[in-house]
Symmetry: C2
Subunit: 337 residues, 2 copies
Amino acid sequence: MLKKKDAYVVAVVGATGAVGVEMVSVLEERNFPVSELRLFASANSEGKVMQYKGKDVTVHTLTKDSFAGVDIALFSAGGSRSLEFAPIAAAAGCIVIDNSAAWRMDKDCPLVVPEVNSHHLKDIPKGIIANPNCSTIQMLVALKPLHDAAKITRIVVTTFQSVSGTGKKAMDELMDQTVALLSFKEPANKVYPHRIAFNCLPHIDVFLDNGYTKEEMKMVHETHKMLDPDIKVTATTVRVPVFRCHAESVNIETEKKLTANEARAILAAAPGVIVYDDPSKNLYPLQIDCVGKDDTYVGRVREDESIENGLNLWVVSDNLRKGAALNAVQIAEELIK
Amino acid sequence: MLKKKDAYVVAVVGATGAVGVEMVSVLEERNFPVSELRLFASANSEGKVMQYKGKDVTVHTLTKDSFAGVDIALFSAGGSRSLEFAPIAAAAGCIVIDNSAAWRMDKDCPLVVPEVNSHHLKDIPKGIIANPNCSTIQMLVALKPLHDAAKITRIVVTTFQSVSGTGKKAMDELMDQTVALLSFKEPANKVYPHRIAFNCLPHIDVFLDNGYTKEEMKMVHETHKMLDPDIKVTATTVRVPVFRCHAESVNIETEKKLTANEARAILAAAPGVIVYDDPSKNLYPLQIDCVGKDDTYVGRVREDESIENGLNLWVVSDNLRKGAALNAVQIAEELIK
């Protein structure tokens, strides 16, 4: 476990990626007690300089010796690097908070959204804490208070996920393809198997034997691990030509009846949730409005008339912040409380 | 009822709109027996010349006298114009096939998708047949064969609808906003209440008292009228920054169990449906691939593991063709059979 100190040596692994950049800025914004910030990335980024609280911090190549003296390491460098380096970091004595999928389903690694299950942080056998998948995080921030109030029995979710979930290269691809199309040129696909500009791809992460994608099954398994293994979940995850923030159409069935007004009141009182729901004024959460926001926005709250006890919700959050960097830093904040 | 002839005088009302243009080209492509084509639109388009089978046809302003001698009138000029002019056209002796929402729920107006309920065309008391909403048409083309095989009890649908569903002005708005953003200019909203470029709007048509939009309730009511009033339906309809074709994430519960393979086999044998479903080759229906296609494409067929008997489907079709113009012309083809 982490020794309490006035300030901590914090490492960001994958510092130059879309999430890594956001991690550095979230640490700064939230004034996390950092005595020293160390930035690591692949050899390509060696010597790159980033800013933290007005000072230059040089990015170094990640090696097995990177973690000496580090208290907390925030990883966002992909699954294979996490598999290799997170145990090395933990053995060197630091607590790893890993944003990849590598450790999420390991029973010895807590998978945590502070608003949902911070009590899972009591025991960290491997010294590794997993940050959940972005699409699961925002869904559970919105559903936890409703589950507490009315016990959710089933979730049918369809996502509208932005390209930043794939990373910087995918954001460039959406931009490049859009420019190419507007210039009557043939757009190239490098990151995605098909064109994303002016198109939706019902395909996120790899396909599994049951016909679902890994992304879809993450929403099932992570909900079970964090919220309740008895909730039935089915998901369809779709990439949309939006740069940042994910939206989700979430249909839930509950044991107890909740009216839309009751649900809105419960959500309005919940941590990390903003209810933004006034159809008479065309107010509902939009991806472009949630960029850089910390909260999860919920709107379009409606009673599902097709079942006895059901609700439809539209849930939007910044996938790079609450969906990744912010949630990781919030876990670190829980650790030092 | 329509008198059988070798060829018919056909009018297209709203000929210069996105759907009207498509109606003219579908009539030509399918070689509908047209003895004379008359094109009508608002006064703004008076004198405009369109092409039909290599010949010029002049667009005239719609008036009360436009329908003398017309056998079949295809309307796509908005609800208020349909409310006013469809009865005038019917009184002049022609059969109206109306693409607006104006007559859809009138019990004396059949609402028809030929693959689903062509038998409803036996009785046309008012001389007006309604063409269903685009998002309902493609959903029911895909669901009718599954309903016949396994009796659908509930549908949870979330749509990804292209801007062409709103019309030509909305297609221009998506283009103009995209260009503005790429030029670092402030994009203007004229058609939609919020920016559509690089954004998704969970708002199609107007909001109703129950919190749903009209578009969402159309999917409920039209499914009941055309397919089965006992099917429970809940819908979330979303506009996405795509020019043409609608996609739908459709979750169904059935009385009888269908495996994914059984569902694919049933769909492959159904009229108007193409199964396009091979995840191992990254094959699934895409909006950009369905432009100009007549069929409804179904992929991502998966058993829903959250309930006993359920399936998830991804359904894509060209909203201007099967979702509007083609379906209207197919209704006309049924009438002259």
